[in-house]
C-alpha cells in the first residue's frame, strides 16, 4: 500500500493505516504524506519507511512505484487527503494500473465523481470507498435481515448523525488544538466542497440508509443551516426523504449538537419488524416486534447471518469497534486483490465494500441537499 495524504497531524490517515495493518494482509510500503515534501519525509520516518519511498507528491509516487519490480512496488494506492485532492490521485493511480482505496466523499463535486466513475468503469482495477460504517458486523446483519425479508416491506427510515465538535468556531482557534486541522479544511468550501456537515457526515448517513435497505432515495427536502457566525458552510441540516418503494424518512446531520460525539444511528421500520443500530455501541442490533419481546442481536453471538459472522474477529463480549469495522473494508479489498492475483474467485461474502457507485450517490446527495436548501428548502428529485 502506498498512501496519499495522512501526514503528521492528520486524523484519517492514521485510521487508514491502523485499519490496513490490523489483519496482517497489507503492508504500508510507501507514501506521499503531505503537500510539503519535508513534512512528507518526517511522516515517512515516523512510519519506519525508507527515505527513498517517501515521496514529495503523489505524482512522483505513482510514477516511481510503477517503475519498480512487481514484487517490490506498491499494490495499491490509499487516498486520505481532503476532498479536493481525491480525484487527481485516484485518476492517475487507476490510469497507471493501481487499484485504489479512497476516503469519502469520493470527490470535490458531482462532475468529478461522474468522470471518475467513467474511469473506474472502463478500468479493470478495484476501487473501494471508505464508507466505513458499512463495515460493522451489525450493519451487515441488518442488511442481510432486510434482504431476507425479515422486516417485511420497509416503510420508514430515520437516520440521525449528530456531532457537537463544531459548536464553536474552532476553525479559527489556536493552531495547536488537535481538532483545528480537521475543522479548518472541513469548513472551507475550497477544500471541502459545496457542503460542510452534509458532505462530511450527511453522506455517511445517506450511504448507510441505502446500503442497509437496498433502497434508493428519490426525492428530498433539505433545511440546512449555518449556526456558527462567519462559518462558510452548513453545520446542521434536517432532510425529509422519500425512497423508491414509497418508504419515507428523515436524515439529519449536525455538527453543532453540543455534547454529541459521533452519534450515527439508524432506525428502519418495516411491516413486520423494526431495527435500531447506534454507532457508539456498535455491537448491538435491536430488533423490535409488535406484541413480542425485543431482541438484541450481538456481534459474534450464535445464529448471525453469515454476512455478519464473516466480519467479526473475536468471541462475543469482546467489543469490536470503529477500527475493526474500518479494517473490514481493507481486508475485503485485500481479499479481492489476492484473488485476482491468484486468478481465483472471491467468496461473495467478502466482495462487499462501497465503491464508485456509492461515491456518485454521495455526491448527488450533496448536490441535491444544497440545491434544495438554497431554493428555500423545497423538494427536489434525486
Amino acid at each position: 500500500m502506498g498512501m496519499v495524504g495522512g501526514g503528521r497531524g492528520a486524523f484519517i490517515g492514521g485510521v487508514h493505516r491502523m485499519a490496513a495493518a490490523l489483519d496482517g494482509q497489507i503492508d504500508l510500503v510507501c507514501g506521499a504524506f503531505s503537500s510539503s515534501a519535508e513534512k512528507s519525509k518526517l511522516s515517512g520516518q515516523d512510519l519506519y519507511l525508507p527515505s527513498e519511498r517517501t515521496y514529495g507528491t503523489y505524482q512522483e509516487m505513482i510514477e516511481t512505484e510503477k517503475s519498480l519490480p512487481a514484487d517490490i512496488r506498491m499494490d495499491f494506492v490509499s487516498i486520505v487527503t481532503p476532498n479536493h485532492v481525491h480525484f487527481g490521485p485516484a485518476k492517475m493511480a487507476l490510469e497507471n494500473g493501481f487499484d485504489v482505496v479512497c476516503d469519502k466523499p469520493v470527490a470535490f463535486n458531482l462532475e468529478e465523481a461522474l468522470e471518475l466513475k467513467k474511469i473506474v468503469d472502463s478500468s479493470d482495477r478495484i476501487f473501494a470507498l471508505t464508507h466505513n460504517y458499512t463495515g460493522y458486523p451489525m450493519v451487515k446483519q441488518a442488511r442481510a435481515m432486510i434482504k431476507a425479508g425479515e422486516l417485511g416491506t420497509i416503510r420508514k427510515i430515520v437516520v440521525e448523525y449528530p456531532q457537537g465538535w463544531l459548536s464553536n468556531k474552532i476553525e479559527e482557534a489556536d493552531l495547536k488544538q488537535a481538532s483545528w486541522k480537521q475543522a479548518s479544511w472541513r469548513t472551507d468550501p475550497a477544500r471541502s466542497g459545496a457542503a460542510g456537515c452534509m458532505g462530511d457526515i450527511g453522506t455517511h448517513a445517506e450511504n448507510l440508509a441505502e446500503y442497509i435497505t437496498g433502497l434508493k432515495i428519490t426525492r428530498l427536502c433539505a433545511d440546512l443551516t449555518t449556526f456558527v457566525n462567519g462559518r462558510l458552510l452548513d453545520d446542521d441540516g434536517n432532510v425529509l426523504v422519500h425512497y423508491e418503494n414509497g418508504a419515507k424518512g428523515i436524515i439529519y446531520a449536525s455538527q453543532i449538537s453540543v455534547g454529541e460525539e459521533n452519534g450515527l444511528r439508524i432506525r428502519i421500520y418495516g411491516t413486520l419488524a423494526g431495527i435500531d443500530w447506534t454507532q457508539v455501541e456498535p455491537n448491538s442490533l435491536i430488533v423490535k416486534y409488535q406484541d413480542k419481546p425485543r431482541q438484541t442481536i450481538r456481534t459474534a453471538v450464535g445464529n448471525l447471518h453469515p454476512e455478519a459472522q464473516a466480519h467479526t474477529r473475536i468471541p462475543a463480549g469482546h467489543p469490536e469497534g470503529f477500527l475493526e469495522a474500518f479494517a473490514n473494508i481493507y481486508r475485503n479489498f485485500a481479499f479481492c486483490l489476492q484473488a485476482r492475483l491468484a486468478g481465483k474467485a472471491v467468496d461473495p461474502i467478502y466482495r462487499d465494500f462501497p465503491g464508485i457507485d456509492d461515491g456518485v450517490r454521495g455526491m448527488q446527495f450533496i448536490d441535491r441537499v444544497v440545491q434544495s436548501s438554497q431554493k428555500g428548502a423545497i423538494w427536489v428529485d434525486f
Copy 2:
C-alpha cells in the same frame, strides 16, 4: 370531581381516575361515563358511585350537580371523551360555574378551540389540559434549566414520538381486542378531527417542545403519510420546524413504527449544553457538554431545581412513572382550586399545568401540518 366519558373499555378515563386519586386531594363523586345511559350506570357501579349520581349525559350531570348543595356537588368536571366531545361539555361546565380538566387535543378543530378560549378567558374558572408529559419531574427540570440559561441560546430541537400499535389495520379487527376501541375512534375523522397520528401524539410532541424551551414554532413543513391501506387519517408524519428565535428542528410522530411502544423523546441543543429526555425512562435527564463528562440528572436526587423537586413524591431510585406525572397535573389543579376556595395565593411552583393557550397552539399545529402536507409538504407559517 365529575367525569364525562371514561366508561368500561376506555383507556384514558381510568388513567384520569388513578391520577386524580393518587394524592388524596380529589374524590370522584359523579359521572356521565358513556353515551349509553345503561353503560354509564354499569361504569358507575364499578366505581362504587351511588346510582343517582351516575348520569346518562353530561348535560344531565352538570344541571343536576349544579343544583346540589355546595358541600355535596362536584367541584369540577373532568372530560375524557373522544375529541369531538370535548368542546360541548367544556363550554357547558364553564358556563355553569365549574372548573374543567380536559383531555387533549382540546377540541375537534381550531374553530372550537378559539371559541373555547374566549369562554375560558372571560370566565374565572380554571381550565387544565392534560398534556401529561409536562408533569414529569425531569421535564420540569429541563424547563427550569433552560429558563436559567444553563443551555445558552437554543439552536436545535429534535422531538420524536414513534409508536407501533397502528402498524396493522386494527381499527377493523375483532371488537374484543383491548386496543380496538382506541384505534377505532382515533382513526375516524368524524371523532378524531383532521389529523390522526399528528393529532393524537404529534400535539404532545409540539407541546413538549414549546413547554420546555419556552419558544414558539413559527413555520413548518410537514410530510404526512397514511401507510396502512384504507385508513382515513395519517398514521405517520415528519415535520421540519422553525422556532421564533432562529432555532430549527424536527418533530416526527408515527403510529406505524412497528415495535415502538410510546417513544416520546426530546433533545435540545443550546450553545452551552444539550439535554436529552426519553419518556419510557422518565427519571433520567441527560445533560451533554462539549469536552466534559455527561451528567445524568435523576428524579429526587439532590440539587434539582425546585420546580422539579416539587413534582416528585418519593426518594431517588423509587421510579415514578406515567401516572405520577399525570397526577401532577391533577394535584396542581387541586391546589389551585383549594387556594381559590381558601382565598389564598398558590405557590407559583404549583400553578404549572397546561391550559387553554396550549390547547389553541395544539389545534393550530394540527391545522398547519394538515395544510402543509395537503399542499405537497410545503412551508406554512404558524
Copy 3:
C-alpha cells in the same frame, strides 16, 4: 383502612396511602399516625380525616373502630411504624377481628415473628406484608417463567441491593434534613432490631430471590460491616448463599455505596436461560440465552404470562413505577377482602402478596446473617 404510624415527616406512610388510593378500592377512614397524640391530630387534618377518627394510639383506634357499625368502621389496619412497633398493633388488630397490612420486616426479632405467625395461622384474617418489590409486573413475569420451566434448573442467583444514602453519619445530622428521620430509627438497634442494612433492605433481597425462584435458602456465610464510625448497626453486607436445590449465589446489600439510589437487581441463571431485572428500570426484564439473541420483555407488551399482565394498568411504554407495584399488594389484598365479604373465591392470580411466612423467613434471614457475621463470617444453616 385505618393506619398506624405514617404521620408528618414519615416516608413509608405516604407511600402506603398513595398505594392504597391508586385503584379506587380503598379509602383511608381513620388513623393513629404518631406516638404523639397531637402530631397524630395534625396528620389527620392533613389527610382530611374527621377529628374523631384520628386517634392518639393504635389501641384506642382498634377499640373504638371495633365498636362502630360494620358499614362505618375501618375494614383493616395498615401498620407503617418502625420495626419495634409492628408486633403490638398487628397482634391486637388480628385478635380484634381486623385484617392487617404490615410493613416489613414483619417484627423486631424472630421470636415476635414466630409468635405472630401463630396468631395469624389461628385466625381467619388476612395478613399482608409489603415486600413491595414482588408487586412489579416483570417480577411476576420472572416468577411465572421459572415456574413454567423456561429457565431450566436454577443454578445461580445473584441479588444486589446497593444504596448510598447512609455513606455519612446522617443519623446525627441536622433534624431538618428530610432523610434524618429515616436514618435515625433505621440505625438504632432499639427500634430497628439486630440488623441495620441487612434488616432494612437485605430482607427485600432475600424475599425477592425466594419469591421469584420458589427456592429456599439453606445455608449462608455473611460478612457484615459498619463502615461509618460510631454507627451501631451494619451498613454493608456481603453474603454467600446456598439454596435447597443446589443453586448457589450471592446476596449483597449496602447503604454506603455512595451514589447508588435504590439499586435492587436480581440475576438468575438456569440451565436453559438467564434473567436480569433491575428495580430502577422496572418495566424491562432481560432474558439471556446461549447462542441466540437476548430478549427484553416489557410491561404490557403482548404475550406476557397472565400473572404479569394482571398486574399492569396501562399500555406498553407508559412506565409504571414503585407506587404502582406497591399498589398491587393493596389491590390484591382488597380483592381478597371483597371476595370474603361477598362469599366468593378470588381468582388465584390476585391471591398473590407476601404474608406471614415471608415475614418469618425475613426474620430468620436477619437472625442468621447477624449470627454468621458475629462468629467471623462462618457458614450457618438457615
Copy 4:
C-alpha cells in the same frame, strides 16, 4: 516478534497478532505455532512467514533466532500457549536474552510463578503479562482518579465476571465447533492448572481490582462449584474478599451464567464517589456521587487524566474495543524496548503494563481460592 503457540484454530494467538500489528510498531517475524511441526508450518504460511523462520518447537526458535544477526532476529518472544506451556518458553527466552510477552495466568502453578519471578528479577529483560483489561482507557482513568483521591477512601469493591459459554459440557462436543478447542484445554487440570473458571477469568477480576485501586487482597473466602456434571474443574465461584486498607468486597466469576458474553464489571465505592465500569461497553466510565448528578466519562472526550488520554487513538464517539486495549499493552511494551535500544528513558505514562508481580499475585489468588473452597469455603489469608 516471534510467537510461541497461536496456530490454526487457536483464539488468543490471533488476538495477540492483531494487537501487536495495530500500531505499526511490531512485525511478526517468526514463530513456533504448534506442538505439531507440520501444523506450525501451515500456520506460518497463513501468516506470510518464510518457511525457514517457522519453527517446530520454541526451543528451536529461540536457539536459531539467537544466532541470527541483530537486525534480523526477533526482538522478543510472545507466548500464547495453554497455561502449562508458559513457564518453559518464558524461562528459556529470558535466559537467552529475549524480552517476553506472556499470556495470563503467568504459569501452571504458584511454584512456577515464583521461580519465574526470580528469573525475571535477575535479568534485565522486560516481561509483560497480558492482563489486557488494564489496557482500556477508562480503566486507566479509573486508576488515575483513585490515585488522585477523587473517590476518597475506598470502602467497597465489587468485581463480577460472568460468562455462559461453558453452560454445557462443550469440552466433549464435536471437534468441529469453534469453541471446543478453547473449552477442551481450559477445563483440563493437566493443561489449565488447579482452577478452571477462577484461573481463566477470576484472575482477570482480581488483577483489575488491584490494578485500579492499588490495594492488595489480604483474605478471602471462596465458594467454588462445578455445575456441569463430569467437568474436572470449577466453572463458577463466589468469593468474599478483604483488602489491606479495610475495604471489603466480592469477586465472582462464572462460566455457566447462561447468556452472558464476557461480562467483566467493576464497581468501586469510596467515601466521596463511586465508579462503575463494564467491559462490554468499555468507553464509558460512570462516576456516582451522593446528591449530585452522575457523570459519564467517555473515551477521548476532553479533560481525561493524561494516563487515559495516552491510551486512546481516535476521537470521541469512535468506539475503541478489546483489540485496541490489548494493543495498548503491546504498544507500551514496544515503546519500552525502543527506549532501551535508543538508550532513552520512557515516559512513565507508557511504562504501564502488567508484569511478573501481577503474575505472581494471580497465581496466589488461584492457590488461595482453591484452598479456601476445598476446606469448605473458609477464610484464608492471601
